[in-house]
Every structure is written in structure tokens, then in C-alpha cells.
């Protein structure tokens, strides 16, 4: 935790205050997020207390669950359920929330063994009752809470964790390429709620990973064993796949894994607050999970809201329209910053509330030139730091901020958020000043001159130079930003073509190095993910979001069997990254982290534009307990720290 934050806590705490009291709120400055301060219950920042600790003895359930011949709520809850302190007020049960498909990951964040605190650094136990690292960080012992159950009442035990890792993650048919985080991982079951992870190397941040990607560790064995060749008969599986319409069992399970955001794609038992009730092409219906493990300070089982209807709204425009006219109870994912005025209009006319959060993206755009591109001339050009600096300095970030972000974003390079332990202001500003003369000078220096005098620079050998940018227009305002960026680049004599492509295609092309230039949004900027996934700064992963050095990453991932050996300074990054993830020495860790970011700031391996941008989060007026400002992004699974289970309808 940042010192600032601790101090603030100290100020706020008075002796004799019950920790549960709602009167006292901790406020943390998440970076100078344009003044926005996040006010959350103090209790959210600590390991959640349990009913017994707070002396809550009687529990109640929603009328929705009455007369469903379910066992009484006490039996459905864990032996000692976690208590979540609601933001503003204790809620009342009931209601159906209207949202869109894309927002269901935000309304129903996954409930993992660990969860993330609203300071966006601290990892808190969730399904875990306790955990402990040994001193060298190679051994992590976790104990699950007593009496946890899947949404179908089946007990949740270490069995499920072992299955998820040994039979899925480490199964070659299921995961042809083992994810780096599981390589060499060894799980030992102590009893049905205690297990031990043995890592080949120290993994001080493994809990971050488990908190941020819970699905990998929680696949219900009792459900999936019927589909798994190690447990069930091949023929039977084949038939099941036939009727379910999947080519084979791995395809079937990957469907739920690949789309990590939507673990419900296959209707398997869950630990989340809601479970699928019915699936139709147009609509996913959810109902409350009767075995959910959380209660509020009055002993009411969460969540408050009974059911969710997630409509399939394919066109972003329509999502915006629905949100701005009060047809949705919660919307965030596809609401562009530029539409805030429209939404605000809805605030005055359609009974909605527009909360402006801040995207945790270090930069809304990470512009990437593929330094491993097949074309020899291009790759040498992109590998030339002067070229990347020129591209960066040719961009007028302040104008972008004014035109696209109403001046409320922060012009910056791709780097971590200011609240981070690894942040230094110059990381954000290096080579980010708008200086076309300097840019042109660099381009001339490289030997890109306008030989034929058509106002467009040619390559040093006189052959024409065209840059092609292909990207997906998703999450952040990429298309409109690129229109500007391209015009800036044209202004310094570069011929640029751009085209929108589909996400799936971007994924395939990016990791097979087929994209010349592309654009993504730079997340992994908080202390939750940066230490374990410094992916935008170090070539060590193949992903849709990382197209600038796929071959070097491949080399890293396959221990030099495939891909290309990176040049020394890049190799150095990889070594630092390994150390960052594994060192147990906090100061050294921060030092290494800063080394990585500093190197990136100098070399501009990926170009940023404007970051920490305003993110509209629309809620209907009847929806209560939603934080007014927060960080928005993948690192923290969007709403995971803000406890959507405590949202309720004010009847």
C-alpha cells in the first residue's frame, strides 16, 4: 500500500469505531485520477471478516428462493460465511437487472480463491480461509473455507483445484501449450480443503494471478469429469459432444476457458453470485446462486438482486442508445468516452446516473510496430529506436486529449498508473512531447527522405514506404484516435494505411507475427498484474495485444526452440522480468520494475497517446451501492473490488 494511503487510513480511524460501521470510509487517491477520489468502506481493504467474527448468527434468504425445496440457508452457506459491508446502505432483496451480454462479466465478476482490494494492489482471500508462503516463496499453502459449495450444491473441495490444474491446464490435449504460469507447477492435496502449490521458482505474486484469473483454478470436477477422457468412456463423451454440437471434448471445454470473461458459455456450476438459468441466442438469463458464500452485515445472503437478463446487443451504438435511454440497469463496457455528453443528456431525461470512472489503461492506445515483421526493410526500420521516437513525437497528444477526451485524459506513454509502486513521472512523459521538427529531423537522419517530392517520404533506397495499421476498434476509442494519429504522421511525410479487423483475426495474426503495425490498449498497469505480467514492456507472451515482438516472445516461451533470439537489450528485459516475478526482496523488485519501465521509456517499444481516460459507467437510478468513481479495467476484473453482489434495487 502506498504511504499516502496508509496515512489517510490513520486519519480516518478513531478508537472504538466498529470496523463494520458504515460511517467511516477510507478514501484512497488512486493516482491523481483527475481529482477523482474513491470512497469505499474501510472493510473492503482488509481480509473480509466472517459472520462468527462479527457475531452474526442468524441468516436470511431472498423470497425468490422460498418454496424451492432447497435446504435452509444456513446449510447452503459455508459454515462461517464472509460478511461484505455494503457501500452506502444495507440492501433489500429482489428485482431483475437488465444488462447486455458484454457487461455480464462486470455485473457478475468471478469469485475465486482470492480477490482484489479497491486499492488495486492488495490481494485478499475470498474462498480461501487462509494462505501462507514459505520463506523462499516456492511453496504456497492454501486452506479453503469450510462448507463451500458449487451452485448445484455439490461441495467445493481440493479435488476441483487438482482437476483444474492436473487434468486441464497440464493436459496436452486440452492445452496444447501449457500456460507459463503452470509450467512445473505441482499441487499436493493435504485434505479436502487444504492444498499446497510447489513452484519450480519463487512465485510471490502467484496469489495475484489466482485472484485475477480465478477460472483457471476452479473448474467443477464433478461436472466436467463426464466429459474428460481420463474419467469417462470415450464413446459416451463422443455422443455427448455430438448432441452438444462440439467437435471434441477439448473444444467443448476450451469454449468455457478461451472466453475467460464468460465462463458461463457452457452452463457449468459456478461459485459466482449468479448462475445461468436459460440460454437463448438473444438472451442469457441468470438467477441468484442459492449457495453463494457471502452475506451482508445483517446476515442476508448476497446477492441482493434476484436475477439478471443479459441481452445480446451486438452493435455498440445500440448498447449506447439503450444505456442513455434508461433501458439498462448497468452498462460500462462499450460506452465510449465521446458519448458521455449523450449519456449525461440521458441523466436529465431518462432516469439514469452516469458515473465517470477512470480507465486504468496506462494509455488508451498502445501503438505497436512489429519489430519481427517478415518484411526485412520494415523490421529494420521498426527496430530503429529513432523511427519509433519520431513516430511518438509526431503525435499531438494534447490535441487528442482535447478532441477525444474533453481534456480530461492524461497525455502519456504506455506505462504503469501513478498509484503504482513502480511509477516514475518521466516514464509517462519520455518522448511524448509534440515536436514535429525533432520528428522530421530523426526521419531524415534515418535516411527517409522525400525523394520524388510528392510530400511522402521514401525508404533510403528510394522505394516507396507505406505503413499498414490493422486493429480492432474495441474498449478504447481506437478508430477516432488513429484517424488523428495517421493525420499527424502524414504531416511528417509518412504514408499510412489503416483497416479495422476482427478480434479473433487480430489474435491469430498478432501471435503469428503477421501484423505489420497494430493498436491495442495498454492495461496490466496496476500492481496487481504488472509484476507478473509486464507484457507491454517485455516480450514474454503471445497475445492479440502484443504484436510488436511475437518472435522474441516465442523464443522466450519455447526456451529458444522457436522464434528468434532477441538482441541483448531485449534479452535483458526478459531476465529482469523473470527476476521481478520471482524475487522476494521488495526493494529489489521495485528497482527491477523501474529498470524495465525506464528502458521502455527510452526505447518507446510501444507508443502511447492518452491514458487514465474517463470511462462512463451508467446505472439506472434504482440501482444502489455502486461506487461513483473507480478504476476500470482488466487488471482488477473491472468491478471485482467493488462487490457487485451488494448492488440492489431501491424499490
Amino acid at each position: 500500500m502506498s504511504r499516502l494511503f496508509q496515512k489517510r487510513l490513520a486519519d480516518k480511524l478513531h478508537p472504538g469505531d466498529s470496523i463494520v460501521s458504515l460511517a467511516f470510509l477510507a478514501s484512497l487517491a488512486i493516482q491523481p485520477a483527475n481529482g477523482a477520489e474513491l470512497e469505499v468502506p474501510d472493510a473492503w481493504l482488509k481480509p473480509a471478516q466472517t459472520a462468527s467474527q462479527l457475531g452474526i448468527t442468524s441468516f436470511s434468504q431472498s423470497a425468490y428462493l422460498d418454496n424451492r425445496d432447497l435446504p435452509p440457508v444456513e446449510e447452503r452457506l459455508p459454515d462461517d460465511p464472509i460478511v461484505i459491508v455494503p457501500l452506502d446502505s444495507i440492501g433489500t432483496y429482489g428485482g431483475v437487472a437488465n444488462i447486455t451480454h458484454e457487461d455480464r462479466g462486470m455485473f457478475i465478476p468471478p469469485e475465486g480463491i482470492f480477490t482484489i482490494a479497491p486499492d488495486h494492489k492488495t490481494i485478499l482471500p475470498n474462498l480461501a480461509e487462509s494462505y501462507a508462503y514459505n520463506e523462499d516463496g516456492r511453496e504456497l499453502t492454501i486452506t479453503l473455507r469450510r462448507g463451500l459449495k458449487w451452485s448445484d450444491s455439490h461441495p467445493l473441495t481440493t479435488e476441483d483445484i487438482l482437476f483444474s490444474i492436473n487434468d486441464l491446464q497440464l493436459n496436452k490435449n486440452f492445452m496444447p501449450v501449457t500456460l507459463p504460469d503452470f509450467i512445473g507447477l505441482e499441487v499436493i492435496a493435504i485434505d479436502d480443503r487444504t492444498f499446497v502449490f510447489n513452484f519450480p521458482s519463487p512465485e510471490p505474486f502467484y496469489i495475484n494471478y489466482m485472484a485475477q484469473s480465478p477460472e483457471y483454478f476452479l473448474m467443477p470436477k464433478h461436472y466436467f469429469r463426464e466429459f474428460h477422457p481420463d474419467y469417462a468412456d470415450e464413446e459416451v463423451i463422443a455422443e455427448r459432444m455430438e448432441e452438444l454440437g462440439f467437435s471434441d471434448w477439448s473444444a467443448f471445454m476450451t469454449t468455457s476457458m478461451q472466453r475467460r470473461l464468460f465462463p458461463d458459455l457452457v452452463n457449468h456450476p459456478t461459485t459466482s453470485a449468479y448462475k445461468i438459468e436459460s440460454l437463448t441466442p438473444g438472451l442469457y438469463s441468470y438467477e441468484r446462486n442459492p449457495y453463494f458464500h457471502k452475506v451482508d452485515t445483517n446476515g442476508q445472503q448476497l446477492p441482493y438482486i434476484d436475477a439478471i437478463e443479459a441481452q445480446d446487443v451486438r452493435e455498440p451504438e445500440i448498447a449506447v442508445a439503450k444505456a442513455s435511454t434508461g433501458q439498462l440497469d448497468f452498462a460500462g463496457v462499450r460506452l465510449p468516452t465521446q458519448d458521455i455528453p449523450l449519456l449525461k443528456l440521458g441523466e436529465r431525461t431518462s432516469g439514469i446516473k452516469v458515473n465517470v470512472w477512470n480507465r486504468l489503461h496506462g494509455s488508451d492506445l498502445s501503438i505497436q510496430a512489429n519489430m519481427n515483421f517478415a518484411d526485412e526493410q520494415k523490421r529494420t526500420l521498426f527496430a530503429d529506436v529513432r523511427f519509433r521516437r519520431a513516430l511518438s513525437m509526431a503525435i499531438n497528444r494534447n490535441e487528442m486529449n482535447d478532441i477525444i477526451y474533453f481534456g480530461r485524459g492524461t497525455p502519456r506513454q504506455v506505462t504503469v498508473v501513478p498509484g503504482s509502486d513502480y511509477f516514475e513521472p518521466e516514464f509517462a512523459t519520455a518522448w511524448a512531447q509534440y515536436d514535429t521538427d525533432a520528428a522530421e529531423a530523426l526521419l531524415d537522419e534515418i535516411g527517409l527522405h522525400d525523394v520524388d517530392g510528392d510530400g511522402v517520404r521514401e525508404l533510403s533506397d528510394g522505394s516507396p514506404l507505406t505503413l499498414t495499421v490493422e486493429y480492432v476498434d474495441t474498449e478504447t476509442p481506437k478508430q477516432i484516435s488513429m484517424e488523428l494519429v495517421v493525420s499527424y504522421w502524414n504531416a511528417v511525410g509518412l504514408d499510412v494505411r489503416q483497416r479495422l479487423i476482427d478480434r479473433e483475426l487480430q489474435y491469430s495474426r498478432a501471435i503469428s507475427g503477421e501484423l505489420e503495425m497494430t493498436v491495442w490498449h495498454a492495461d496490466r498497469t496496476t500492481d496487481v498484474l504488472f509484476p507478473i505480467n509486464p507484457d507491454f514492456w517485455v516480450p514474454r507472451k503471445l497475445a492479440a495485444s502484443l504484436a510488436m515482438w511475437s518472435e522474441w516472445s516465442r523464443w522466450y516461451l519455447t526456451d529458444g526452440n522457436l522464434g528468434e533470439e532477441p538482441p541483448p537489450e531485449i534479452r535483458q528485459l526478459q531476465l529482469w522480468a523473470d527476476e521481478l516475478a520471482t524475487t522476494m526482496d521488495r526493494d529489489r523488485r521495485i528497482e527491477v520494475g523501474k529498470l524495465i519501465l525506464a528502458a521502455n521509456a527510452e526505447n518507446v517499444w510501444t507508443i502511447g497517446t492518452v491514458g487514465l481516460a474517463p470511462q462512463p459507467v451508467v446505472t439506472s437510478n434504482r440501482l444502489k451501492n455502486v461506487v461513483e468513481s473507480g478504476l476500470w479495467g482488466w487488471d482488477i476484473r473491472y468491478t471485482m473490488p467493488y462487490h457487485p453482489a451488494t448492488w440492489f434495487f431501491d424499490q
Partner: protein, 368 residues
């Protein structure tokens, strides 16, 4: 006994066409539009990519003759706009500042441009306060502060030319294939027949989409332009081919063709010297009516983002940026290109009708 005049077919046709008032109006407006398209660089006050960061999503400005005191000025002028972003509504609000007026000047120097990519020029038909802070956005500006009026004008060039070029190709294919099919008959005929049948039974839009989705991203705007055009005309020729074929079948037997054959004119000559002219008027009409389909086709593709790409500005591209609910509520002026499309398409249709009536020797002359 009433007075009677002798008329040549040409005169008769022109007479009929003139009677077709709507067609006349249509022809007029098309001439107007195409003139604009040809001289867009000169007529538009700004270049399509020129940004005015002081006017983002600015509404159309009123061009005034009367100033605040109600004084009439001979030279029209616009007031300066004060931009403020409302902190609560996040709305960009534009206040007219009556204290500073910018008179509209004609044939002023402005943003330099390449006329038809041939020679440098910087004269614009009109503008305000060329090197000062003043600006005029007659149709308002888009989300990047670009002048919608100028963009519509540049868009006109692309959209209107795509129609013509595309139809040119269509005609070539249609007449060639249809003509020979009808004239030669036999295997060639049935082959072409089958082909048209097939092409006509495929929903065109999906095909267009499939093909233009396959256009490489690295293609230059101009190549893409031609790529799209070709794709559009690839399936347009069938209708024409059918008609041409039909006419040929009918005509093959007619005396003047037989005669031409008898005097030993070869097929090609017979087709192109004797048969084609005999219904060129029909072809012209069909062509005219085919243009709108092209224009709308381009619009549709661009709308789906698989047609033309920026920096090429076509009406379709412009609409693609204005395709959402937000625009209808907040910045309706971005839909203006749509109005231009509507006008153009209607004009072409009316013109086509007019030509058809005029060309048809059996249509009567009657009072209207």
C-alpha cells in the same frame, strides 16, 4: 384543319424529354452536382482532412446579412463562436459572439491543394478571415473538427464517379456478353444465360461484402477505390445482358440485319455497326438507372466498414462515421451526406424515366 409540323426522331425525342419536367429538373441538378464534384477543391473552403480543434462537433453556422443592430450588410458574414465545455453536461457549447463578425470573402487564398492532382493552387471560392482565427462551417463540423461542407464536396467526387465508372464497366460486360449471346446463340448463349441466372440468384450484397472484405489492407486508397468499383460492377451486368440478348434475338431475324449479313458484313461489324446503334437509346436508359444501384452499393459497403477507407472521402464513408443513435440526437448535421445521396439517386431515376419515355418511339406525345 389544324397546323401540322414534320419532326425528325431526334427532335421528337427531345420534345418528349422536355415535356418530362421532372426529368429536366433531375438533369439540371445532376449537372450541378457533377460540376461541384469536378471543382470540389476550389469550391470547398477547406481540405477534407483540415481540422479545426476550436470547433469539434460544431453545429452549422448561420450565414447572416443582418448584424446585431439589424443593420443590413451587403456582404454576408458569420459571427465568431465561443467554445465552452459544460463541466456538468460535458457538452461542447458554442456561443455566437456578436462582437466579432467575419465577412465572407470570395476567391481568397487558403489551404493549398492540388487541383486534380495536377497543379498546386490555393484559391478557394469563398472563406472567412483566411489567415486569422475566424472560420466558417456552413454544414458544421464532425467529431474531429473537420468541415462537413468541404467533406461532402470531396465525397461527391468519389461517390458520383464510382457510379459512372462502375456502370461503364457494367455496360461493357453486359453489352459484350449479352450481345454475342443473343447474336451467336448456341452454346455461348446458353453459357451466358446460365451465368446470368446464377449471378442473379445470389444475393448481391453478401457477395460484395465477401469480396471487398478480401481486399488487402495494404492497397492504396485509389487501388481500393477501383477494387470496390470493379466488385460492384461484377454482378451488375446480368440485367443489361439479358435485355440486350433479348433485343438481339428479336433483331437477329429482322430484315436490316439479314441484309447486312447478305452483303457479307462479319459478325462483329453486324453487331456493333448495325444492331447496337438500333437500341443504344435503350442501353443509355438502363445505364442511367444502374448508376444509383452503384452509389447505394458503395454506401452500404462503406457503412459496414468494408468498402472505401479513410483518407478517401465518399458519402458512404462520411455516413459510416455518422451511423449511430448519438448522431441523430446530438449532431444530426452529420447526416447531410445522406441527403445528397437521396437527391442524386432520385435524380438519376427520374432522368432514366425521362430518357426511357423520350427514346421509346411508341410512347405518345400527350398533354400533361
Amino acid at each position: 384543319m389544324s397546323e401540322l409540323r414534320e419532326l425528325t426522331p431526334g427532335q421528337l425525342a427531345w420534345l418528349k424529354f422536355r415535356r418530362h419536367r421532372l426529368a429536366m429538373i433531375a438533369a439540371g441538378s445532376l449537372i450541378f452536382l457533377y460540376t461541384i464534384a469536378i471543382f470540389c477543391e476550389f469550391i470547398s473552403p477547406y481540405t477534407p482532412e483540415q481540422r479545426n480543434s476550436r470547433a469539434i462537433n460544431a453545429p452549422p453556422m448561420d450565414v447572416r446579412f443582418f448584424d446585431a443592430e439589424g443593420q443590413f450588410n451587403f456582404r454576408p458574414f458569420v459571427y465568431d463562436l465561443e467554445l465552452t465545455i459544460n463541466p456538468d453536461t460535458w457538452m461542447r457549447e458554442y456561443e455566437e459572439d456578436a462582437s466579432t463578425a467575419y465577412p465572407i470573402r470570395f476567391f481568397t487564398r487558403g489551404e493549398p491543394y492540388e487541383f486534380w492532382g495536377l497543379f498546386e493552387a490555393e484559391r478557394h471560392l469563398f472563406s472567412v478571415d483566411p489567415n486569422g482565427p475566424g472560420y466558417i462551417h456552413w454544414f458544421g463540423t464532425d467529431s474531429l473538427g473537420r468541415d462537413v461542407f468541404s467533406r461532402v464536396l470531396y465525397g461527391a467526387r468519389v461517390s458520383l464517379s464510382i457510379g459512372v465508372v462502375g456502370v461503364g464497366l457494367t455496360l461493357f460486360l453486359g453489352v459484350l456478353l449479352g450481345g454475342f449471346a443473343g447474336y451467336l446463340g448456341g452454346i455461348f448463349d446458353s453459357a451466358v444465360q446460365r451465368m446470368t441466372e446464377v449471378l442473379q440468384s445470389i444475393p448481391t450484397l453478401p457477395l460484395w461484402m465477401a469480396l471487398s472484405a478480401a481486399l488487402p489492407a495494404a492497397w492504396s486508397p485509389i487501388t481500393t477505390y477501383f477494387g470496390v468499383t470493379i466488385i460492384l460492377s461484377l454482378f451488375g451486368w446480368t440485367t443489361l445482358a439479358r435485355q440486350v440478348r433479348g433485343r438481339f434475338l428479336a433483331m437477329r431475324e429482322e430484315d436490316f440485319v439479314v441484309a447486312a449479313r447478305l452483303i457479307g458484313a462479319n459478325d462483329q461489324r453486324v453487331v456493333f455497326r448495325h444492331m447496337l446503334p438500333s437500341f443504344s437509346s435503350h442501353i443509355i436508359t438502363t445505364a442511367t438507372l444502374a448508376v444509383p444501384a452503384m452509389i447505394l452499393g458503395e454506401t452500404a459497403l462503406s457503412f459496414l466498414g468494408i468498402g472505401l477507407r479513410a483518407p478517401v472521402v465518399s458519402w458512404g464513408v462520411l455516413l459510416q462515421q455518422a451511423q449511430n443513435y448519438q448522431v441523430i440526437v446530438m449532431t444530426p448535421w452529420l447526416l447531410l451526406p445522406g441527403a445528397f445521396i437521396v437527391v442524386t439517386v432520385i435524380a438519376f431515376n427520374l432522368l432514366g424515366d425521362g430518357l426511357r419515355d423520350a427514346a421509346d418511339p411508341y410512347s405518345s406525345l400527350r398533354q400533361q
